[in-house]
């Protein structure tokens, strides 16, 4: 259960972002979580709900987009999406693959409230 320490990092980023923008409140937080990011989206949600109390994001909604594993084949140059996390090209069977997406754990965007 390292989701709590990841959420602690997230709140450091959120405080920084709100300060830079001169915002009083964060209303929405959008994350991109790869299937091979090593975190469980449900646990991330729970940790977020615990952590957000008395922060700038107290009322924020968390949206998690799950990103599938997308592989680029260096043999046939085609892309494969593997939900079963098997590192084999679905087109030619090669194992010379590059991970293009699916390992990320990214704060994509936020929505802020700023007083004029």
């Amino acid at each position: 259960m390292h989701e709590l320490s990841i959420v602690a990092n997230l709140f450091e980023l959120l405080e920084e972002q709100a300060k830079e923008a001169g915002a009083q409140k964060i209303t929405l937080v959008k994350l991109k979580v790869g299937v091979l990011s090593g975190v469980v989206p449900e646990l991330l949600q729970t940790a977020f709900d615990i952590y957000k109390k008395d922060t700038i994001a107290t009322e924020a909604e968390l949206i998690i987009e799950t990103v599938p594993l997308r592989l680029l084949c260096h043999q046939c140059h085609q892309e494969t999406i593997r939900d079963d996390i098997v590192f084999t090209c679905a087109h030619c069977g090669s194992t010379r693959l590059e991970k293009k997406e699916g390992t990320e754990l990214i704060l994509e965007k936020i929505e802020l409230e700023i007083d004029d």
Binding site: S5, I6, A21, L97, I106, D116
Partner: protein, 224 residues
């Protein structure tokens, strides 16, 4: 008036850890130290393997070991009993080591080491997400744990360089099929290097030692 505004961030939530890890890796490579991060569930034999490697590699090579545990100095004491310097990190409940913990220890690590082993907290899930600045990541899987583990813990196996199947001496007594483990692990990570060992009988240890020595030589020749 209150305005609502969208702000694009696109920042890695583990970015601060990765940055520290990259700094550590660069320094260790500069010093010619081969660093390996050992991951496994509790009781898979990480400390026992390190004791065995200490016997094989020391005193010809200088070793250091960082021990990560939730509580106690027990593992560091076992390593020190082999005449190897060991530094214990007790996380006080945290389920993994982070790069900054290694960074804090850095001033104590002798710059003339050949090998630095980091024994992570026993856990096959959380440590997999944290780069510690290692050159090599070894995931250990002991035969009593069962042959269905790689697909259940994909992150550990996809991020590792080596799979070390431990307690090979017990395999004849268990419903454990090494071929199944190897096939599953290679499906997750076709580049994975696989060793099957027993620290008790010594089976497979020489292959692992030869691999580590070859990795040390490569590190030094490419950064001479």
């Amino acid at each position: 008036m209150t305005k609502r505004k969208e702000r694009l961030v696109l920042q890695d939530l583990l970015g601060s850890n990765k940055k520290i890890a990259n700094e550590i890796r660069e320094k260790l490579i500069q010093q010619g130290i081969l660093t390996a991060n050992l991951l496994s569930s509790p009781g898979a034999g990480k400390t026992t393997l390190l004791e065995k490697l200490a016997k094989e590699l020391s005193p010809a090579y200088r070793l250091g070991v960082i021990e990560g545990d939730i509580e106690t100095q027990r593992d560091a004491e076992r390593i020190r009993a082999q005449g190897i310097p060991a530094w214990q990190i007790t996380t006080g409940g945290a389920c993994h080591l982070e790069a900054k913990m290694i960074g804090n220890l850095f001033p104590q690590i002798p710059p003339d080491l050949d090998f630095l082993f980091i024994e992570n907290v026993g856990n096959l899930v959380c440590p997999a997400s944290y780069d510690l600045g290692e050159k090599l990541r070894l995931v250990l899987l002991s035969s009593p744990e069962g042959d269905d583990k790689p697909k259940k813990y994909p992150k550990a196996f996809t991020t590792a360089d080596c799979l070390v199947i431990t307690k090979a001496d017990l395999i004849p007594h268990l419903p454990f099929d090494p071929a199944k483990v190897i096939q599953e692990a290679l499906e997750l990570n076709p580049q994975l290097k696989i060793f099957t060992i027993s620290a008790l009988t010594g089976e497979g240890i020489q292959d692992l030692v030869a691999f580590l020595l070859q990795q040390l030589q490569e590190l030094r020749s490419s950064h001479a």
